[in-house]
Symmetry: C2
Subunit: 464 residues, 2 copies
């Protein structure tokens, strides 16, 4: 953890924080891309490292390497921090180690740690070996934290204010530190043991009566912070709940370890939303179109296998009624409609519940009321569908009993689907699993199996 730096280090940090896209207007800062590498004749100018990163992602690996090697190191650091994880890894593994190490050294510690985290052990140690001892120690320290924890997303460069400073001294101090820090608009008030006792924004300080002692200004505060080992979702929830620019990360003794800034939270929110959607259908939560397809195959196959086993279970239900179907093949025609409809109903409930859990503000009572709500919806929509399909199946098969069987099984299965879709995420969470992961696969097993069983069961009882 780096709270103070020697001068040289600070300079580097300063440039790196700027190049790393700190919360700032940025437009004044232009990166020009070396002509020789752009492929086309003209040299390109980018207002922001993020744009440079976008451009790099469209180049071949060779051109990416060439461009980064020729760029000013601080610009390369900025671009690297904004590159897609997979691309960044390829680049770092193919850059000369020394150049790579220089770029890493330029990056904001949290961004550097994120990139290094994706590298294989060997490359990582080789790179860390080329950094200054202090630098590599800090990065190893950050790399030890769970990437999904608050500490895994935190930036260690924060502005600390002693309790005894006046607001004027505090403003002066912030002004002097501002250039080096990613979150320059908050000062964190600590006592002599570095325990966090309050937070003051530049706005608070500018509006405070001159001469006020910082300690007094925060005397009334109940500081909102997150424990370093909390899930990063919790940090995201807190920050967006309170609309903070940055959320302090503390250890169990209340010592400030760093901050998670709003821009990192935005990335976390996006990643977690993807994780929910992808996880729901059994893809790797971190998969994107940039994931190497072989990796995706490895990630998806296990869930496809589980899905195969599950659908074999539903199939075995149908097998129980093979005789019934042999007598009336029409049942095989209508059977999938029941399962499909209930599956869709369940997925609607599932999606609503998963998104609700994503907000992290959902107590038990409210949760089960939500399941009850889904049951009501399932019953009413089920009733509607039952009536529709009753007449549909009746007219189609000229057999009223088939219509009745269709209607009855559809109503039951849709209600079951709604309740299952609503409760699966809650059950998963209760047993400590990710509420979203593979939920859709388990839901389909239930709605298919039950749908087939009820439909064919009723048919066996009433039709023959």
């Amino acid at each position: 953890m780096r709270m103070n730096h020697d001068r040289a280090d600070t300079d580097r940090a300063a440039r790196s924080v700027n190049a790393a896209g700190a919360p700032d207007t940025w437009q004044h800062h232009k990166i020009s891309m070396p002509e020789a590498c752009t492929g086309d004749g003209r040299g390109l100018e980018f207002a922001h490292p993020a744009d440079m990163a976008d451009h790099l992602e469209h180049l071949s690996l060779e051109k990416q390497i060439c461009a980064l090697r020729r760029m000013p190191t601080e610009d390369a650091a900025g671009a690297l921090a904004e590159l897609d994880g997979n691309v960044a890894v390829d680049v770092l593994e193919n850059l000369d180690v020394d150049v790579a190490a220089q770029i890493i050294a330029e990056m904001a510690p949290d961004d550097a740690a994120d990139v290094l985290d994706d590298l294989d052990e060997g490359h990582r140690d080789e790179l860390l070996g080329r950094l200054t001892r202090e630098n590599s120690e800090e990065l190893r320290n950050l790399l030890n934290f769970d990437p999904d924890s608050a500490a895994g997303a935190m930036n260690t460069e924060v502005i600390l204010l002693g309790k005894t400073l006046t607001v004027d001294e505090a403003i002066a101090h912030i002004r002097s530190e501002m250039e080096d820090k990613e979150s320059p608009y908050y000062g964190y008030v600590v006592d002599h043991r570095d325990v966090l006792v309050g937070v003051l924004s530049v706005r608070d300080l500018m509006l405070a009566k001159p001469g006020t002692i910082v300690g007094d200004a925060v005397a009334e505060q109940a500081v909102i912070s997150v424990l370093y080992d909390a899930d990063r979702r919790e940090a995201a929830g807190l920050l967006s709940h309170y609309n903070f620019l940055a959320l302090p990360v503390v250890d169990y003794d209340g010592h400030i370890m760093g901050v998670v800034t709003y821009d990192d939270i935005m990335d976390i929110m996006h990643e977690e939303a993807s994780a929910d959607m992808l996880g729901m259908v059994g893809a790797d939560p971190e998969e994107s179109v940039d994931t190497p397809w072989r990796e995706s195959v490895r990630g998806r196959l296990p869930w496809l296998l589980i899905n195969l086993v599950n659908s074999a279970l539903s199939a075995s239900v149908v097998y129980m009624f093979e005789g019934t179907i042999a007598q009336m093949a029409m049942l095989a025609v209508l059977m999938p409609m029941v399962a499909n409809q209930a599956g869709n109903t369940g997925q609607q409930a599932l999606a609503v519940m998963i998104r609700q859990l994503a907000t992290d503000r959902f107590d038990h009572k409210k949760a089960w009321l939500a399941v009850l709500r889904e049951a009501k919806i399932g019953f009413v929509t089920g009733l509607f569908m039952a009536v529709t399909t009753f007449f549909g199946a009746w007219c189609f098969t000229k057999n009223m009993i088939v219509g009745g069987v269709m209607a009855g099984s559809l109503l039951c299965d849709m209600m079951l689907g709604a309740v299952a879709g609503g409760s699966i995420p809650l059950i998963f969470r209760a047993v400590g699993r990710d509420p979203a992961h593979a939920s859709s696969i388990f839901l389909t097993t239930i709605t298919d199996g039950a749908g087939f069983f009820i439909f064919l069961g009723l048919a066996t009882v009433f039709i023959f």
Copy 2:
């Protein structure tokens, strides 16, 4: 659009912006809740309006009304801004109009507009009628913008800097305006015609050489802004891409109309992620567990009906082969497994693609390469599953041809599912539809229909 206020108005704006949860540390600001309303004996204290809102959401409507009526108006305004949409509407419709109008007047214009937008015409006009002319005009103005556009999410209270100011004057001006503004850390540099020519952060200004002219400081800038009628997703994409605290919203002549701040963008990101997930399975994109269940029924029924029609289509495919099934009921047992597996494969592709489109940085070439990627994944996973099911079905049915039919149809359907899942969002986007909406329903129709057709078709050809 309100750029300057008379004093009284500024005071109100100032309190309202604070009460509305501007980006700030907040801990120093405590709201105490009137005892008589808390239900339990003690008076509650909240560090933040968002906490007050959470508490209110757990109370009965009567207690909510009572609490808001007794609270200091500015606190009520802050809490109301953080309340869930449906709750806020109930409250406003049941509060005495005068009290409601006072609270609305206290709120930040963008928050007030959001709440009023959910009210029915009658209540809205009645409330607007009680406000000052200037106030109601501004709100009517904001209400005219599409809520899904950048302007629909913008805050009109921005700090403007004339080109001719020095940085020192600029800092002094920002300091004087700071209290009134939701985004107090950026100054927007405009020429004499209010055309936006640059953006300077408080950090930029504090680090700039004293005496520098603001106009010169931004001379090099290529200002990044969003058009007022752009989709709010675009604003969200730009702000999170550049890690800005606020993104200026401009008209077609480049005049600044307001800003969208990072805290609103976080809400937008969360809402859009929910919209994708809910829309995918045909639920109302804005549905949550707080949506009245009758409303949800109305929202979901149409899609369930479409799903019913679609599954009837797949059923008609099975109907074509009724004879085949009559001869070999076992086919009805295995048939759903093919469709189910392909459906899951397709949903994995679908989820990956929808999340990719959510990032808003996805050109055509890359898009179709992503579909190719899914095709590869579908082929390899399909091959793996085909081999597995070949032996499975063979052993189970003692019929090698059935195994072959199963394997062949599974491979074809899984590849089709992968390609369909990958392309449906792109096709939807190309024809101007929401890429996510009901995509899963259409996908299932394809994988079910094709799965049944290929499986039963091959069976008819090869088994009999």
